[in-house]
Amino acid sequence: MAAPPEEPAGVSCADLFFGFLGIGLSGFGGVMPWARRMVVEERRWLDAASFNDLLALCQFLPGPNVINLSVALGGRFAGWRGALAAFAGLMLAPMAIVIGLGALYTNYGDLALVQHLFRGLAAGASGLIVATAAKIAWPLRREKSALAIAALVWLAAAIFRAPLIAVLVAGTGLGLLAGWRAR
């Protein structure tokens, strides 16, 4: 994919690798909170709205969102090498850790102490994910129709557990309709 001319300069493959390495290492309980923190708040590669734009695309395409985000962001800043660097940075540490945990858990998973530790950790990680959801919703706070669609999608997915494909198609369709009427 040819690099577009106006892209933010100065983000190298090494930046991408280490940026996403940090995300992979700290991403307990889901990576999205850390990805947003690194990309938007710390390194300022994207502003909040551009991050949401890119995330929306990565969400729509198949595959884990954060992996898609690393590939898309790496590709935008440094072509296929950047995509590879960001992907490798994201996956390297978590793969090593998860295999180590697998080996540990096989031996010590029955200990009450370990189980309590994981329960606390999981509850804290949930809090982090809730906070990220709030931050991602924040840029929409003054757009009534967008908020209404987001609320419908939330209801369909969280409460009614509707099939994801149906939610994606219906939600996007509603959004397209709202956008068409608002022109």
Partner: protein, 173 residues
């Protein structure tokens, strides 16, 4: 066929179906891994999934663990890349086009339609996960506390996670 290749192909076939992050393909993954290939028992599959959730990194690391359990390091790499490669290639191509056409009217129209869906789905994911970890009033309070502190402060959230794990060990969760 070589085991790593079978793992790669099995997970590569799931990759393009993983709309919305990957939890959608879990039933199909379980069917392949447990039912078709008999690599694991159902309870092993669930245990590996829970473990992958507890580890840092993308939640699809369950593929890494399954591959590792089936065929060691080669299996772990084959399953992980199988699950990531097709969707990543698609993302690479589409994201490039997406960026190139960012000023086009149709592109903005579609983008504006996608964003609320993302907001709703991320919110739904948060609700589902928080409901799953709220094993009692104390874990629920812990979740709410971490959410509020993360929104209200600029402290690195790793500290909140460490405190949560400690609270768990102390029997508060």
């Amino acid at each position: 066929m070589m085991l790593p290749l079978t793992l790669f192909l099995t997970f590569a076939a799931l990759s393009p179906l993983a709309f919305g992050g990957g939890n959608t393909i879990l039933p199909e993954m379980q069917r392949e891994v447990v039912g078709v290939h008999h690599w694991l028992s159902t309870s092993d599959f669930v245990a590996l999934y829970a473990l992958a959730q507890a580890a840092p990194g993308p939640n699809m690391l369950v593929a890494t663990l399954i591959g590792w359990r089936v065929d060691g390091l080669a299996g772990a790499l084959a399953a992980t890349f199988g699950l990531c490669l097709p969707s990543s290639l698609l993302t690479f191509v589409i994201a490039g086009l997406w960026w190139r056409f960012r000023e086009a009217g149709w592109r903005r129209w579609i983008q504006a339609a996608l964003v609320p869906v993302t907001v709703g789905l991320v919110g739904a994911g948060a609700a589902v996960i928080a409901a799953g970890t709220a094993l009692g009033p104390l874990t629920a309070v812990l979740t709410a506390l971490v959410a509020l502190l993360t929104l209200a402060s600029r402290v690195n959230p790793l500290w909140f996670l460490a405190a949560s794990a400690l609270a768990g060990v102390l029997g508060l969760a």
